[in-house]
């Protein structure tokens, strides 16, 4: 460790809109849809010299038991359009949009991202997500035809095709997913190719990232899980002729600051209680158990029945794993720590990664990166839009003092910030 120079940390800001970590009951919580909120968070991130600003996507409102989920923040804009507007009020900040490869077409999307890259002077990024659920497909021409197995096949062919369009000239392509011929109406984007992000954790997802992505948005936010993921993914790169630093691993993480560690811990617990109210706890259980639990007492023990596998009670959420296995694990935790249903949910769904004084948080973040559990972080604040203010004011200067985070932008494009070269034409 000591024989190599300090790794530089990359930072991104996740807009706290539609997300179960967003606390809307706080009096300081503001609109999740007005432009002023997006602007505030983006300006804060740019003041903090962040690499990029990040927007998630969900193309159908979540449902539980056939009813629209009403407990979390609902209502989001179309990402590329918001980022186009943010390009006008920022100068250096990267602008990343999550856009589904299943419910879009390569020509159109390549053109939209190329336009964003031109309009922002080379700051666009695309988080390629995949989807196979017929539920979301009900909003689209394509419907829900795509097999789960085909998701990444389509995504890989999609990204390859998008890159050919970005490179310019006439593209002729005939493959299993797409049979197209065309030429974009605009020059190669300033970054050559907008930055590609991948967020998906299966084996196929990791392989897709190793072959294709510039950044992985991961969920592994503990040191050991992060290191294992880091080792696994970076090892896959060689097969594609890529070097380890050509793919940045950036887990989505949360943080809570306090003047003392105790105060931070106390605030963190309060935030968790706000994130998981009694009805939210039940909704989490329903997601695993796959049955209607509206009569279940959140302050009593976990349900005694076994989960129903492949239930359709919850729709529009990413699957979280094998329900039987999760239920067994949750039961063990509840028994060991004597937790009620709600306390259990608070305990096991906690993604509060960094809690403490600014100095402690800065030190932990740095340790993660220097110990190869990550190359940086996508910070997920819990408050819209002021949730990043304290981090930028209090933690960023400490990271800068440690010499692991830029004090000024040294380039103008997102590729510059990430240390990624403009790719050659194919």
């Amino acid at each position: 460790m000591t024989d190599r120079p300090l790794k530089q940390i990359h930072l991104a800001a996740h807009f706290p809109g539609v997300n179960n970590t967003t606390v809307w009951t706080d009096p300081a919580s503001r609109s999740q849809i007005e432009f002023a909120s997006f602007r505030h968070l983006a300006e804060t991130a740019e003041r903090g010299r962040f690499d990029f600003f990040f927007l998630a996507e969900g193309l159908r409102l979540r449902e539980v038991n056939g009813l629209i989920h009403d407990l979390d923040v609902v209502g989001r804009p179309e990402s590329i359009t918001v980022l186009g507007a943010l390009a006008a009020v920022t100068t250096h900040l990267g602008l990343a949009a999550t856009v589904n490869a299943t419910f879009n077409e390569p020509y159109e999307l390549a053109r939209r991202f190329a336009s964003l890259d031109h309009l922002s002077g080379g700051r666009a990024a695309w988080n390629v997500v995949t989807s196979s659920d017929a539920f979301t497909g009900e909003n689209f021409r394509r419907g829900g035809f795509l097999d789960r197995a085909d998701r990444y096949t389509r995504a890989a062919e999609f990204v390859q095709l998008a890159r050919e369009f970005w490179d310019g000239g006439l593209v002729r392509h005939s493959g299993p997913q797409f049979d197209v011929e065309g030429r974009l109406s605009l020059p190669r984007p300033p970054q050559g190719h907008p930055v590609v992000i991948q967020a998906g954790d299966s084996d196929e997802g990791r392989e897709f990232a190793a072959a294709t992505a510039d950044i992985i948005f991961s969920r592994h936010s503990t040191l050991t899980a992060g290191q294992a993921f880091h080792t696994d993914v970076k090892r896959r790169l060689a097969a594609y002729g890529r070097k380890p630093d050509e793919l940045k691993i950036m887990p989505g993480v949360t943080y809570v600051l306090g003047d003392t560690d105790e105060e931070a811990t106390e605030r963190a617990a309060e935030i968790r209680r706000a994130q998981v109210g009694p009805r939210t706890a039940i909704a989490y259980l329903e997601q695993v158990w796959g049955i209607d639990l509206s009569d279940h007492d959140p302050d009593g023990p976990l349900p005694t029945a076994d989960p129903v596998v492949d239930s359709t009670v919850v729709q529009g959420r990413t699957r979280i794993g094998d329900p039987l296995e999760i239920a067994a694990r949750w039961r063990a935790v509840a028994a060991e720590k004597r937790l009620s249903s709600r306390e259990l949910v608070i305990e096991v769904t906690g993604r509060q990664s960094f809690i403490g004084t600014p100095a402690a948080v800065a030190e932990q973040l740095d340790a993660y990166v220097q110990n190869d559990a990550a190359d940086g972080f996508i910070l997920v604040p819990h408050l819209t839009p002021g949730g990043l203010d304290d981090f930028v004011d209090q933690v960023v200067p400490l990271l800068q003092e440690r010499g692991v985070f830029r004090t000024e932008y040294t380039g103008t494009t997102l590729r510059d910030h990430l240390g990624l070269p403009v790719p050659g034409r194919r």
């Binding site: 849809i33 432009f35 002023a36 804009p77 879009n104 077409e105 065309g182």
Partner: protein, 351 residues
């Protein structure tokens, strides 16, 4: 006071990819207090241009009053994406978005998507009408007061105020509701280009379907007609079909290299308005001609009391004198109030 004109302009600039160019054009248009600007688009490789909606999103925070009406085509796009993109343009511009509906009728564009062949124009316009219907239903699929943030019950929204739209047509079906709350204008302004020839007796099926789409869905028609007499006939016909709520702006080339051409345009705009509500200026050289419009044409119209001296409202609907539409899914209520979100957002910017 004489009847007030409505004026808009195209900012099409083939081969320009820099935001600064379009910002400069928008500043001229805003200085002139034009109702809106348009930017054409298609999936053809020529002319060289950026995505129109993205370009106007980039202008939104840099302008305060100007309406922004990009072309978005309906043939190869997803109506759901189009609806939320136009909706989002309305949010980022705080109520100044419109949508100029276009179709893609060439083999080259069909090949670029590779999903279907080229259909006849009447079918493409029928599909465009369905896309407009879906967009409008999705915009209405959230009632204005659906977001309740009720701490006592833990509910962020009142889900009774979100609505499935359940549209099913020959080209697509869309379930809804939207993922984006109702836009500040309720429904962004819909514009459709129509020519006098489309309205002529014996016009081809594609023309008839275009006029049908305009009559049903357009708030604004951009009318192509050769001269005042044809304008009057076409406008009369359009109003007969669409009713009095329609704003008709006649397309007029603005090629303004010198004083004589400027005087001629002022004369035409002042005297040639038979039956139409105003004019859509199509510059020959956007930077030069929009500057001339702001510096000379509009001041002359203001002197004659024909055009506003500044914006009197904040939304594009305000400029066009169109009310905020009631929500088709909401129980009928007395006159819908202006969205407080917009007012608040404006206050933010003003401070």
């Amino acid at each position: 006071m004489p009847r007030q004109l409505h004026l808009s302009a195209a900012v099409d600039s083939p081969g320009r990819f820099d935001a600064g160019h379009f910002t400069a054009l928008a500043r001229h248009a805003e200085r002139a207090a034009l109702d809106f600007v348009t930017l054409d688009d298609s999936y053809a490789p020529e002319p060289h241009r950026l995505d129109a909606l993205a370009t106007f999103a980039r202008l939104a925070p840099l302008t305060r009053g100007l309406g922004l009406v990009p072309t978005v085509t309906t043939t190869h796009t997803e109506p759901f994406h189009t609806s939320i993109s136009v909706n989002t343009l309305d949010w980022v511009s705080e109520g100044r978005a419109g949508w100029l509906i276009g179709i893609s009728d060439t083999e080259a564009q069909a090949r670029a998507f590779g999903r279907k062949g080229v259909a006849p124009a009447d079918e493409l316009w029928a599909e465009a009408a369905d896309a407009a219907e879906v967009a409008a239903r999705l915009w209405d699929s959230w009632e204005d007061d659906a977001e309740i943030r009720d701490v006592a019950t833990g509910r962020f929204i009142d889900r009774g105020k979100l609505h499935y739209i359940d549209f099913a047509g020959p080209h697509f079906s869309v379930r809804g509701p939207s993922i984006t709350p109702r836009p500040p204008q309720g429904r962004p302004v819909i514009a459709v280009p129509v020519s006098a020839a489309d309205l002529a007796p014996g016009a081809p099926a594609g023309s008839r379907a275009r006029v049908e789409t305009a009559a049903r869905y357009a708030d604004v028609v951009l009318l192509d007609a050769p001269g005042p007499a044809a304008r009057l006939t076409a406008a009369t016909e359009l109003r007969l079909r669409a009713g009095e709520g329609l704003r008709i702006l006649a397309r007029l080339t603005a090629d303004l290299p010198d004083g004589a051409s400027i005087s001629a345009l002022i004369r035409e705009v002042t005297e040639g308005g038979g039956g139409v509500d105003g004019f859509h200026l199509v510059p020959a050289d956007p930077a030069r001609d929009l500057a001339a419009v702001a510096d000379h044409v509009v001041p002359a119209l203001r002197e004659r009391g024909l055009f506003r001296t500044g914006y009197t409202g904040t939304t594009l609907r305000d400029h066009l004198g169109l009310g905020r539409p009631a929500n088709r899914y909401a129980p009928a209520t007395p006159a819908p109030a202006a969205p407080t979100a917009t007012a608040a957002a404006h206050a933010e910017v003003t401070r």
